[in-house]
Subunit: 473 residues, 2 copies
């Protein structure tokens, strides 16, 4: 591809600003940044730049903005919605923030941690642990996703139940704006009403309104003890009732309440030899429940009491409590293997959705039936964060169908599932964001007033549309 | 005051829309809405309108916008920053939302409550209690402040420590925009990343970007048991260390950690005959600590253990645990009487500030010394929410000075206190908002980039500057 003169000039300017080594133009060398990690998208970049600090990010943005060159911001390249890779035009500059991986401050008195955008979530977790605290965010990609990524997408995960989404932990942000100016909002205050809460503009807007370069986080106490149970239930209603009882028992912090359908267990035991069914009885669904606290004996006794009463009352069908940390880890590993095992079973069609908790049981029942009606013998495998209403409503292909034939039915099944989510007042993008893949869906689905408000914000903050164009809005 | 023809027309249109009874033009009848509740401001209104529902709010805004008439939005008229009353021009239409006091939905499964803007906080609390939950917000004016008011100002209070500011509980909003359009964002989802998080624009922006007409709230579990302690400490550092120990002990939810200086106790016992010193010993400061949970005996034993160890380690000087609910209530009543008793002691100059927790002890020490140096014999009485860094840094007049003479020193003392807050990276408007009173301070204090972002938002959402003009920004 021939580069225009102005592109040549920009690349030279970027090299002067960052050093030759940190401006990659070679297509092969750029591949880790231009290809979506699962290979679902492969774009091309004008170049991939890796600024070392905030002032270099500002300089990159200023140079790109001056040439009206669009930018793609990237953290760990772990996103599921394609927002982190450039398009096919080769016109976008990819800004990788991975070199900005310093932990700037740790405050054990206030329980806060200040991290740069490129800090890997697992490194932030380790830093918090050293301080006797915990980062209130845990998700499958935590070993490689970066703080800038999880905050700009407002990631969810298993701890939302206890602590809210990623944005809930943010006390302050440092952000490079679309014209290269710096908004220095890196405060560590628990209460601040000095004007509009500007950080909210950048949390969850997927880099389309500004580039988060650092964040100050409110940590939560780390608990030394935990109790984990695996319980068989008839439906999501029973799972939620069990969650409520566990909370009311006030035996500790309910850290997770994850939902697994029987098909999930079935596939795990078929495909992965390290798995086995935790219960001797079979139920339509299971719940993985974790409660953390200070004292193992008290937690175990408390959780046993909750399970015993639930069993007596017929709320649950069966249940076991992990007898060792090793057993608890195995249960969690099975939960985390659900995505992987679905892949081993063939093609699947996925929906990252949420609905209000009170209608979740009805939604699941109707959605499973409607999918089966639309595509006989398809196999709904709804799993995930039942406690916060966020279900990964995945559907595995019928056993004897060709994968490609099943995937051709995606529009049919999406219509069924999305239609019911909308009917029940839910969200079509619960914790994975919008990115490229759900942008059209968003434009079709949101009401005109919401869309016009979002467009006003984009216009106000990025009038030339240079930051992550064609994502979200 | 003579009304222009166009004003006459507008009032007639408003009367047609809402009914005569709900458009008040009589100055005396309008007084409860045009006078700040403490009498610190008295404005005039073109009229005071009381819409019954959201569509009437839309109609009022459309009519005012068409005539380019500015609006003041009002809830319970309990604000401390003067934002809720009209200016002196008599040109503003006051929109009182008090008639919109319906609880629209209660969901005991999901633990959510949907309220209209005019619902009094105490009524929302009662509705939550009926459901077995609690509204995670408690403040002095809860008997008369409204949900629209506390959400639009992002109010704080004693529960911030446990649950965050008012905005943290909001799952969805319904908002009338500056041109009368309705943004219907009244969802009850725990996870939703379908585009920008628009509700954040309206939470804490004090009605300058849109009018909140209803909100969906995430409730927290109500706990049947509580333990309350009153502890003497040397300084704020010891208070925070005690808080951390209490949290680490994981005996329950730490609901409050309030700070009271010895002068506060002194004035209480002097002026209010129902008070007495809870401890026999005297300390520079005291902490009121509350932990809630499921079982009174366990909580009491747990808290006693924490206090005992803190005493042994010399972290605290003395301490007692309330032996009855009545005693606990008395301790809380004393805490809440601190503002009142300061008034009885003469003039005082107040600062609603917050600083990061790790510098709070140093800030308090320096600020007290600097105030005494600037105004000898003035009496700093810093009290409040030490656990979240929000201190009401109030200063009572020297004993033998005239109140007016002391108040004339306000600029001197404000400079001292605000200078130190800024030095320590704190906020000059922690939980009471900006309103009219702190607008100049905000304009002087915020950095130009933050101000320009705020102005862009105002321009994007209220281009004619009709909503709560001259507040915040």
């Amino acid at each position: 591809m021939a580069l225009s003169d102005s592109s040549h000039v920009l690349i030279q300017e970027l090299k002067s600003a960052l050093g030759e080594a940190h401006v990659v133009t070679d297509v092969a060398a750029a591949l880790p940044f231009t290809r979506e990690w699962r290979g679902r998208l492969e774009g091309r970049a004008l170049c991939v730049v890796s600024p070392a600090d905030t002032s270099q990010v500002q300089e990159v943005v200023r140079l790109c903005a001056a040439s009206r060159v669009p930018m793609t911001v990237q953290g760990g390249n772990t996103g599921l919605m394609g927002g982190q890779v450039p398009d096919e035009t080769g016109q976008e500059v990819v800004i990788s923030l991975k070199r900005m991986s310093r932990i700037r401050a740790q405050d054990s008195v206030g329980g806060t941690l200040t991290v740069e955008a490129g800090v890997v979530l697992a490194d932030a977790q380790a830093a918090a642990q050293e301080m006797g605290f915990e980062v209130p965010l845990s998700l499958a990609s935590e070993g490689s996703c970066t703080m800038g990524g999880v905050l700009s997408t407002n990631a969810g995960g298993t701890l939302t139940l206890a602590y809210g989404n990623a944005k809930a932990m943010v006390l302050g942000l440092e952000v490079v704006l679309a014209d290269g100016r710096l908004w220095q909002g890196l405060k560590s205050l628990r209460k601040d009403n000095m004007g509009y809460d500007l950080k909210q503009l950048f949390l969850g807007s997927e880099g389309t309104l500004g580039i988060i370069t650092a964040a100050s986080l409110a940590l939560v106490p780390a608990f030394p003890a935990k109790a984990v149970a695996f319980v068989g239930v008839q439906d999501a209603g029973a799972a939620l009732a069990l969650l409520q009882r566990t909370r009311e028992a006030a035996i500790g912090v309910v850290k997770a309440c994850e939902f697994i359908p029987d098909l999930g267990l079935e596939l795990l035991t078929q495909h992965m030899d390290w798995t086995r069914r935790p219960l001797e009885t079979q139920s339509p669904y299971y719940v993985l429940l974790e409660v953390d606290g200070h004292d193992n004996a008290a937690l175990e006794a408390g959780l046993d009491g909750v399970l015993m009463r639930a069993l007596e009352d017929g709320l649950i069908a069966d249940g076991m409590r992990a007898q060792s940390l090793e057993q608890a880890r195995l249960l969690w590993r099975m939960r985390h293997a659900l995505s992987e095992v679905q892949k081993m079973e063939g093609a699947s069609i996925k929906h990252d959705i949420s609905v209000p908790l009170d209608v979740l049981p009805a939604f699941l029942k109707e959605a499973e039936a409607a999918c089966l009606k639309a595509v006989p013998q398809c196999r709904p495998l709804p799993f995930g964060h039942v406690g916060d209403g966020n279900i990964h409503f995945n559907i595995s292909q019928p056993p004897h169908m060709q994968g490609a034939d099943f995937l051709a039915l995606r529009p049919v099944l999406e219509d069924v599932v999305h239609g019911l989510v909308k009917h029940y007042g839910g969200s079509l993008a619960a914790e994975h964001g919008v990115g490229r893949f759900k942008r059209d869906l968003l434009l079709e689905t949101l009401d005109p007033v919401a869309l016009s408000l979002m467009r006003s914000l984009k216009q106000a903050l990025d009038p030339h549309g240079l930051l992550n164009p064609h994502r979200v809005i």
